[in-house]
């Protein structure tokens, strides 16, 4: 009895141990097999599992952030294979800024899915959305939590996602955030001889830190630019963009207007006359033109590339440049020698303001994609906003726009321009302009006018603004989005 009791007790002890071993074995097998099972499950769940899909992306030629989107796509191919079980390969097409819309539009107008994903410019959202060429993303975002990203500021949504302005309709997702920053030669600022000479000439210390430039006005910065303008040494104080190509001069003139209280139109009524051709804006135009004296000869033809050239070749001390081209602005030879700060405020005293133009581009999806390409396009976007993808994008020189990445402790130090970019991406410091379908036509007219004034073809800023305002309102009126132009418009000319 005692023995049987003992055996029974032993058996009772043994049984749980067996169970335990079995359970442990099952747990181990489940643990080891879980990824495969999950993957099998995921692959089974994804309708494209086992298929091979070819995607095409249309991006901007010679534009680093756009090419980063393209360069990183093999990472998505790996991700898609792992997560969804399909193979994806990418082909790429590109065109310069000024020609990309033309390339996209002529393809989309034929209802082609030649380009499945397009890196658009923010101002084209209206022109792409209005004819139904791109997908409205509201439902897609609602169905995919990965796309419900917390953006760094409301201007991200206003600039890259919304059309019409003020509506809830979302058509794009940010590929690259971008703002204007001021690139300075830190090595020149750190030169004691320069500091002493500046102090003696202007009775104030040479501004040298991010914080000092944060509070600087254009009037103060003019002293700095004048200090470094030495034509005899082939050195100039600064560089801005005055070129009539695409939107170059417009993007650089708007900060002079907006920061001092000017505006460009009334988006609710479509009125331009009486708003764009204001005295504030005429003064702003003259101010921007006056800055030519601190810039190298030929600055009236400066666009993005020309600015990069003069800065990297040491012809200018500073340059107002898009944060997106930071990598090009700071080549190996200038590493550690460049400080990137917020561009100065306009105006004086308490009324001084800082509203610069937004840059950057959204991703948009071709509305004529078949189901498979649409699905992969959405998967691609979901991958793009994964935290690790966003960080990798930043490490390679791109500018993400999501709050998590930008608020991460090390973001400011990843690239020299990150801090200034983040500063300028804050609401009220930057803004975008029209998303209207007539954008291209309004822009072309304006570029001609601004260029005519900056180059001296027409010396009367007010007359040029009258001409542009009338022309733009006429374009909007023809499209049924504005009242007819007033009588004064019939006498305007460039």
């Amino acid at each position: 009895m005692a023995r049987s009791t003992l055996i029974s007790a032993r058996n009772q002890l043994i049984m749980p141990r067996r169970r335990l071993l079995k359970g442990a074995a099952a747990f181990g097998a489940a643990t080891l097999g879980a990824p495969f099972i999950n993957r099998l499950h995921a692959q089974e769940a994804h309708p494209l599992a086992g298929q091979t899909i070819e995607m095409s992306i249309l991006g901007i030629a010679g534009w680093l952030p756009s090419s980063l989107g393209v360069q990183m796509s093999p990472m998505f191919a790996e991700f898609a294979k792992e997560r969804y079980g399909y193979d994806v390969s990418f082909t790429f097409a590109e065109a310069p800024f000024a020609d990309l819309f033309q390339k996209a539009a002529t393809s989309l107008a034929t209802r082609s899915q030649e380009f499945n994903i397009i890196i658009s410019d923010s101002q084209w959202l209206g022109a792409l959305a209005q004819p139904g060429w791109i997908v409205q993303l509201n439902d897609i975002i609602a169905q995919n939590p990965e796309l419900q990203v917390e953006w760094y500021s409301p201007i991200v949504v206003d600039t890259y996602m919304k059309y019409p302005d003020g509506s809830d309709q979302l058509w794009g997702l940010p590929q690259e955030g971008d703002t204007i920053a001021l690139f300075l030669r830190q090595d020149m600022l750190d030169d004691p001889a320069e500091q002493q000479a500046f102090q003696e000439a202007h009775g104030m210390p040479l501004p040298r830190t991010f914080e000092e430039y944060e509070n600087l006005t254009m009037a103060d910065f003019e002293k700095v630019a004048a200090h470094f303008t030495r034509p005899d040494q082939n050195l100039y104080g600064t560089a801005m963009q005055y070129s009539r190509v695409y939107d170059f001069v417009s993007c650089y003139l708007y900060p002079f207007m907006w920061s001092q209280g000017g505006d460009i139109w009334n988006p609710d009524t479509g009125e331009v006359v009486g708003i764009l051709n204001s005295d504030i804006n005429a003064t702003a135009m003259q101010q921007m033109k006056d800055w030519l004296k601190y810039q190298p000869p030929g600055a009236t033809n400066f666009g993005i590339a020309e600015e990069v050239d003069v800065f990297t070749q040491g012809r200018v001390f500073s340059a107002f440049q898009w944060a997106a081209v930071g990598l090009s602005m700071i080549p190996e030879s200038l590493q550690g020698k460049v400080l990137v700060v917020p561009p100065p405020k306009h105006g004086t005293g308490d009324s001084a303001g800082r509203i610069y133009t937004m840059g950057g581009q959204p991703w948009v999806l071709n509305a004529f994609n078949d189901d498979a390409h649409m699905r992969v396009g959405i998967d691609f976007l979901k991958w793009w906003y994964q935290p690790e993808t966003a960080v990798e994008f930043a490490r390679r020189g791109g500018n993400p726009a999501d709050a998590a990445t930008l608020n991460s402790p090390d973001f400011d130090t990843i690239n020299p321009w990150n801090r200034a970019y983040k500063y300028m991406l804050t609401d009220g410091r930057s803004r975008d302009f029209w998303h209207h379908p007539k954008y291209a036509e309004m822009l072309a007219l304006q570029q001609e006018g601004f260029s005519a004034f900056m180059t001296g073809q027409n010396e009367d800023a007010k007359a040029v603004l009258d001409y542009i305002a009338c022309g733009q309102q006429q374009i909007l009126a023809d499209a049924g989005n504005a009242p007819m132009v007033p009588d004064m418009c019939y006498s305007t000319s460039l």
Partner: protein
């Protein structure tokens, strides 16, 4: 009464019929090509010109009658300014190219024994075979005030830097100079072809008669070669009227509107603003102007020929 067919007369008619059939068959591919790629697009263009149609509006074309033509006539988008700039560009450009082309052509013709003549001619024709976009791009670099070789040379001579493409005073002429650089070789080629058509006997007779060069040129050379020369000028006028691919990389029509020729504006309206209706009317206007210019030219050519005969 049944018709009586003469078998002897019917045979050639049958041959003529079958010949006509063969002609039609041989012409059919060309005619089909012409209809598909010329006639239909032209009719399409004409139709569109009476509509308000923007590719980016998402709306179907709206019939507006002659409104697009009327707006152009009223000078919308500075149409008359563009046309005036274009006429100046054509007149000045083709005149310079013709004078230089004829002069250089005569020099080359008179130096047939010069060593290296073939190499010199090949080099001289090189600009003509280059793509205008490439030419425009590298001339933009040559003209660049900061890095351009031309300004380096100018400064080397102690002269001030010139912003050739950025200044309203110089941009138009800088572009015109490049057009002349590109197309003068074409006029040299036409001059050499014209000189080749002059009968050798007449030239020798003129030489034996010791006619001065001016008379030899006007009475012998020009008399025989003028048709080929006029053809060259006509081709240059038509081509120059359409100048676009040289201007886009150089100035995009700027500064302001200084180098905005009609083709630049037409391209902008059609492929940047996507105003397909308005740009079609613009294109029809240009077509009419081209036809008018060509007709006047051919009329003058025929007039001289009739007078000559």
């Amino acid at each position: 009464m049944a018709a009586v067919t003469d078998p002897i007369a019917a045979a050639p008619r049958r041959r003529a019929d079958s010949h006509r059939g063969l002609v039609f068959i041989l012409l059919a591919p060309v005619l089909a090509f012409f209809v598909v790629f010329n006639t239909i697009p032209l009719l399409w263009l004409l139709g569109l010109s009476f509509h308000n149609f923007s590719l980016t509006s998402g709306m179907p074309p709206e019939f507006v009658g002659f409104q697009n033509y009327y707006q152009l006539w009223l000078g919308r988008n500075n149409f008359w300014g563009d046309l005036s700039r274009t006429f100046t560009f054509v007149a000045v450009g083709v005149t310079i190219q013709t004078l230089l082309g004829v002069g250089l052509g005569l020099l080359f013709w008179g130096s047939r024994t010069m060593p290296g003549r073939r190499i010199a001619l090949t080099l001289l024709f090189a600009p003509m075979v280059l793509t205008p976009v490439a030419t425009g791009t590298f001339f933009r670099f040559i003209y660049d005030p900061n890095f351009g070789v031309l300004n380096q040379m100018i400064q080397g001579l102690g002269l001030p830097m010139v912003d050739f493409l950025g200044s309203p005073a110089t941009a138009y002429w800088a572009v015109l100079a490049v057009d002349c650089w590109m197309w003068t070789p074409f006029m040299i080629l036409m001059t050499l072809a014209a000189l080749g058509s002059v009968p050798k006997a007449e030239l020798e007779a003129a030489e034996i008669d010791r006619l001065p060069f001016r008379k030899r040129f006007t009475l012998v050379i020009l008399h025989h070669g003028k048709f080929i020369l006029m053809l060259g000028i006509l081709l240059r006028v038509i081509d120059s009227f359409k100048t676009l691919d040289l201007i886009i990389p150089m100035t995009k029509g700027g500064p302001g509107q200084q180098t905005r020729l009609v083709a630049v504006e037409l391209n902008k309206q059609a492929f940047e603003s996507f105003n397909m209706g308005f740009s079609s009317a613009y294109a029809v206007y240009l077509l009419l102007v081209s036809i008018a210019m060509t007709s006047v030219f051919i009329f003058v050519l025929n007039l001289r020929r009739r007078r000559g005969s």
